[in-house]
Point group: C2
């Protein structure tokens, strides 16, 4: 295809049209019809350009990575190869969970360009829905489905070690994005850094306290090592509520450009941790018309259901495939009672990993570089700081005492016990 | 170089001469002098051909990997790329610990051929020395030196995550050798397998008991996952006492063809576990002239010293490099008291990992496919089985209760408490 030849060129609304017209796999998605063609750049993220393309007969999204971080500019270079890792992860995760991963129509490695399904309105970013107080009745079911299927099928519970090591090697190449995670999640919040910020002056002391908390720092070291060393499954790598688009009956996971073989708990924790952040932000969004009490209860129920459904689906997939090609637990060794015990041990470790990573992801969103709109959209800084402080205190406790939590119910109780 | 062109060809004593003559880096090691040339094939291992080459003016060893397992034949294919991983590991480990790793003179990837230093007599395989009852006064110091330097410098305590992920990816290619380890160490001993054998009939019940021991199998599953998933450092991968050549003042580690980024404890455990096997075999070598009591005490002291010196050297290297490029514990975060605590935690985990892997390596040498000469050379099967049973009982206890051992001294006490 002509469009795939040549060298990298950053596109704009105009040059994109020519690109699409020269690319059959994209034209066909538009019904080969350019009547009423509309192109709108909507990249609200920090890294990339995203174009919605619609015609009378079809639609698609084009995402292009530039060789630097969009929101900072050329002074912070960032490999545009991240588009390659995003594309192959969308395809691999989509293979196992097509219901919750947008279809990739086209990938151009030279141009760092992905053409994929346009998630039309009423799809909105889940985080915005959570801020607006919208309940999603199928969200827990869908996200449990996505996490269980993608993580199980890319782990040694399903694959041979030969396949696993080949895939691990491939994703080692995504090291620049991993380094960003390592820095902003596991390092910067725990030291003085020009990038850190917090709701000042209210949280200045709290941010300093994080940097002086030895017990916290020891736990974070363990998690960082696990993130860097443990190739447990192909993780999304950035599974917060801004990487999910939702409607009442659809849930779609996008933006896996941070994908790598890493600990499963990093994905599960990122997602649950961001739901917990959403919970603690609700008091900042309460007003006379809506105290958000019921919505907070819905968030807690969603957290609870997500984990419980995940556990159920994950262990079911494992049981269904226990005589398959997975090499972690050969059925000739692990059968009957010891199989159940093995599952129990595995899930317990995964639970504690998830709580740890979730807590770390919460902390970094309060005292690190990148904050979340859940809190940022609370106009009154003092109220915002109050919400953030409660989330931070809970996250610190969770990180340090995670091995003491035996069930998600105990976590839910602890969330509600955080004093005002 | 002419010798590096063309395709793979298995050499023999005759064709090897032509190969050497066509390879300047090998000729020069022989002083470019072929007077009194002697070539002797000495590969007593299971996998490769090894030639000792001497002339009046020099010497070297040539090791060639064939695309199958030597002791079985062409019916068990095995990637000859293992020679590549052996060569690059000898070079990388040699870079950090030149005193205890033989120099590589030449590597030919197409021919899967390594030319390296000839470890002349009185160097013998350490295992044979242990069977003969020879004390090596510097062994603990040397092996602690080798393990601390190679493991530290290839971990995230010393390297950036970028370097680490690149190296991890490279070694993922050594998957066939890793699969052999996974099968013979972590799987076969715990199930019925045509390859397993034991000193029958004496140990038949003991071997079956291993396959029925749920607690043991759950622990082994955890270790197998750690071996397959955790890229902690560039490990030798087969560091038993047959991979060490020793004299009274020299200790050389050879044969790292199983090298991969894996858990450090796999190397440390393999080595200590094989010393413990040597200990339990001594009663089978006792005779009227020598009850081996003093030698057993020397082995125990060597085990104790090896761990204590390793811990000292490893934490010293870490402390010396704590402001370096290693990214696991940034000095801006981990300083003063928390640095000491971090070291304590790290070493404690490594200790328990080492005990676990060491125990697994012991078990597989008694009820798995590959046994050790320490026991095999005990002629009386009943006496041999008695020695093996005590080693097996200790290994099972160690694997299941390893987290209860706080010091190497406690392990030494437990070894001596195994009942006859």
């Amino acid at each position: 295809m002509a469009a795939e030849e040549g060298s990298f060129k950053a596109l704009n609304e105009n040059t994109l049209v020519d690109y699409i017209k020269a690319t059959p796999s994209l034209c066909s998605r538009l019904g080969n019809d350019f009547g009423n063609l509309k192109i709108k750049e909507v990249g609200d993220g920090n890294l990339n350009f995203v174009y919605i393309v619609t015609t009378d007969s079809g639609s698609l999204v084009i995402k292009q990575a530039l060789p630097y971080i969009r929101c900072i500019g050329e002074s912070w270079p960032m490999s545009k190869e991240r588009a390659y890792f995003e594309a192959i992860t969308l395809q691999e995760h989509g293979r196992w969970c097509p219901d919750h991963v947008p279809v990739v129509y086209h990938f151009d490695r030279v141009m760092s360009l992905i053409g994929m399904r346009y998630l039309a309105p009423p799809h909105i970013i889940l985080r915005k829905g959570l801020i607006a107080g919208i309940e999603y009745p199928l969200l827990a079911e869908h996200m449990a489905d996505y996490m269980s299927k993608t993580l199980f099928h890319t782990s040694l519970l399903y694959n041979t070690t030969a396949v696993h090591r080949q895939e691990v090697a491939k994703y080692c190449g995504n090291l620049e994005l991993c380094r960003l995670t390592e820095q902003v999640v596991f390092s910067d919040p725990y030291k003085k850094s020009e990038y850190n910020r917090c709701t000042s002056p209210y949280l200045d002391e709290d941010a300093l306290a994080v940097q002086k908390d030895d017990a916290l720092k020891l736990e974070v070291a363990e998690l960082k090592a696990k993130f860097c060393e443990r190739a447990q499954a192909l993780i999304h790598g950035d599974l917060h509520t801004g990487s999910v688009m939702a409607t009442q009956d659809s849930t779609q996971v996008i933006d896996p450009e941070f994908a790598v073989y890493g600990p499963m708990g990093f994905d599960i924790g990122a997602y649950l941790g961001n739901l917990i952040l959403a919970y603690f932000s609700q008091d900042g969004h309460a007003d006379a018309a809506n105290d958000r009490y019921a919505y907070k209860q819905w968030i807690l129920k969603t957290i609870e259901d997500t984990w419980k459904l995940f556990e159920k689906k994950f262990t079911s997939l494992w049981a269904e495939n226990k005589d398959g090609s997975g090499e972690a637990y050969l059925s000739a060794i692990y059968n009957d009672r010891v199989f159940s015990l093995a599952q129990e041990n595995y899930v317990k470790d995964l639970f504690h990993d998830s709580l740890g990573f979730g807590a770390a992801k919460m902390i970094r969103r309060i005292v690190g570089v990148a904050h979340v709109e859940d809190f940022e959209s609370i106009q009154d800084a003092k109220i915002r700081a109050g919400c953030e402080r409660r989330a931070l205190e809970f996250a610190k406790k969770l990180l340090k005492e995670r091995r003491g939590f035996q069930t998600i119910d105990a976590v839910i109780v602890a969330i509600q016990e955080v004093p005002f």
